[in-house]
């Protein structure tokens, strides 16, 4: 409802207003408007302060609850005599020295860690890596390129032509801004078991297709509620961004077929004859690397992402299914061929690590048979002389694992998502 404005529009004629009553009335109305605005601001001021404090306080303690869950999980792992990666604080490029020689990793060999997408990968050459979708002008402001092209294809009776849709523009998913997300809300009278389904198509800009895109990042919106059903690519010369194009699963090699622990780590839609589904339910931010060599003769020209929202919000007797993306990026990343990093693993309280029996990497974009080429490690035990040694000592509270990652012959860049340590 529009709120009233006290000041009335006046159409004085003949050299203005000659009535003092009218004049006084106008001043009175101005004053009433000001009083109303001041009252409004006093109320908003208090409300905003309270909300700010509440949101931040809840946020802090919620993230503490997550940390607490991590600690409990660590304790569970400890009963199995295993440890894994939990925090970026476990990473270091300089664990100390061995036989008096520094073990520090030179800057050019340092593996890259990404805390949003949770992976460790080869050293990225930042000045040779770029996004093919996110553009910036000369003063650093983000611009949406005119060649950015997407298409949404509704897939079921809920999200169907004619449905009541409240949407922002899909290009909002490109903005590096917290107040811009692409959200598509489907408003229906009755809920559906299947939820709302759609394909989201995005074209790789024509000026970038020969650059060999090799990485796709996406953050579903709302977080942890959207299911990612499939990710496909096309090599059609001029894709129509529809089912008419020839689409292949990004995980066309069906990597880790039917392995439940790989769900969320491999692009969905690629498994064949599997008992388990590779659909990523309630997806977190996702990042997938594409081995560019296998597509070399024909570049990728478009991507298709299958999305589903099964959760709804009920309001005014309507059911609102919201899905979309808060971030989307397709990148050409250049990586060095090899790199190193150290992970610090601390023994659970009142325990010591006498020997590390095995170090198992979780790299889901490299076939298990090639993992040995992509990954190698070395265990370092602190010595009493404040040094590090590959020989197990008589009980250590901390051990360091040196990790080396290598690019594969087909240019596959390994994404290390976890490290499982078994110890005694």
């Amino acid at each position: 409802m529009t709120e009233p404005i006290y000041t009335q529009r006046r159409t004085a004629q003949y050299s203005g207003n000659h009535s003092s009553t009218e004049y006084n009335k106008r001043v009175e109305e101005n004053y009433q408007d000001l009083v109303y605005l001041y009252n409004k601001y006093n109320v908003i001021d208090t409300k905003l302060d309270q909300m700010f404090s509440r949101v931040m306080t809840d946020h802090i303690f919620l993230s503490n609850a997550v940390k607490d869950s991590m600690d409990r999980l660590k304790a569970l792992e400890a009963t199995e005599k295993m440890m894994s990666l939990y925090s970026y604080s476990q990473l270091t490029y300089n664990p100390g020295s061995s036989n008096g020689l520094s073990l520090a990793v030179p800057a050019s060999e340092q593996l890259t860690f990404n805390s949003i997408y949770n992976y460790v990968t080869l050293p990225i050459v930042s000045n040779a890596s770029f996004s093919v979708l996110k553009m910036y002008n000369s003063v650093g402001e983000q611009i949406i390129p005119s060649f950015f092209e997407t298409r949404v294809e509704p897939l079921n009776s809920i999200d169907a032509p004619g449905a009541l849709i409240d949407t922002t523009a899909p290009y909002y998913s490109l903005y590096d801004r917290y107040d811009r997300v692409w959200k598509r809300s489907v408003i229906v009278d009755n809920p559906s078991e299947t939820g709302a389904l759609m394909y989201f198509y995005v074209r790789v800009p024509a000026n970038a297709v020969d650059k060999k895109v090799n990485s796709i990042h996406l953050s579903p919106y709302p977080l942890n509620s959207v299911d990612i059903l499939s990710i496909h690519y096309t090599q059609a010369t001029n894709p129509t961004l529809s089912s008419q194009d020839s689409w292949k699963a990004l995980n066309s090699d069906a990597l880790y077929n039917d392995d439940l622990s790989a769900v969320g780590q491999v692009p969905p839609g690629g498994w064949v004859n599997a008992v388990n589904s590779d659909i990523i339910v309630n997806s977190a931010p996702l990042c997938f690397n594409v081995a560019s060599l296998q597509f070399e003769n024909k570049p990728i020209t478009g991507f298709r992402i299958g999305m589903r929202q099964k959760n709804y919000i009920r309001e005014n007797n309507k059911y609102v299914y919201t899905y979309g993306l808060s971030d989307l990026d397709i990148r050409v990343n250049k990586y060095l061929n090899t790199g190193r990093i150290y992970f610090r693993f601390s023994a659970p309280e009142n325990q010591l690590i006498f020997r590390v029996n095995s170090v198992t990497p979780k790299i889901y974009n490299v076939p298990l048979s090639l993992t040995e080429l992509a990954f190698s490690n070395r265990v370092l035990y602190p010595t009493s002389a404040n040094d590090l040694s590959v020989i197990p000592q008589s009980g250590s509270s901390t051990v360091f694992i040196e990790i080396t990652l290598n690019k594969l012959q087909d240019d596959t860049v390994p994404l290390l998502s976890d490290l499982i340590i078994s110890y005694e």
Binding site: S20, M56, S63, E80, S115, I116, D179, S261, P285, S326
Partner: protein
């Protein structure tokens, strides 16, 4: 630094009323241009104050949103949390920690990591059975 987690008496938090003083005019009599000018100055002052407040609100909203969604504006590497407030907290018997604000995307990612680890442990357990 401002306080965000508690209210403290502050002159800026007073209920503010308009500065405008209404000057009654009678056209067929004495007119004071000084009062007339004062009225218009006060009106401008009031509008300026309101405008500034609106901008302050906008800044506060931006600050809150950027604290929880800062990942694109900060280096995505090695930044797990941003110390922002001049405050600290204590939980259970833990020592005091600085107030760190974690990006919501990062929090979601952490939750994902937890669920993956649970999945691994569950698989391991079912294999042992």
């Amino acid at each position: 630094m401002n306080n965000y987690f508690y209210s403290q008496y502050d002159n800026s938090k007073n209920i503010v009323q308009p500065h405008l003083q209404r000057v009654r005019q009678r056209y067929r009599g004495y007119r004071d241009s000084g009062k007339d000018n004062l009225e218009s100055h006060q009106f401008i002052l009031d509008v300026s104050i309101l405008l500034k407040k609106i901008n302050d609100f906008e800044n506060l909203m931006s600050q809150m949103a950027s604290l929880t969604y800062f990942h694109n504006s900060a280096s995505p590497y090695f930044v797990a949390a941003t110390p922002f407030f001049n405050a600290s907290y204590k939980m259970y018997s833990n020592p005091e920690n600085r107030v760190l604000i974690e990006d919501i995307l990062e929090l979601s990612s952490t939750l994902n990591r937890i669920s993956n680890k649970i999945k691994l442990l569950e698989n391991q357990e079912s294999q042992n059975d």
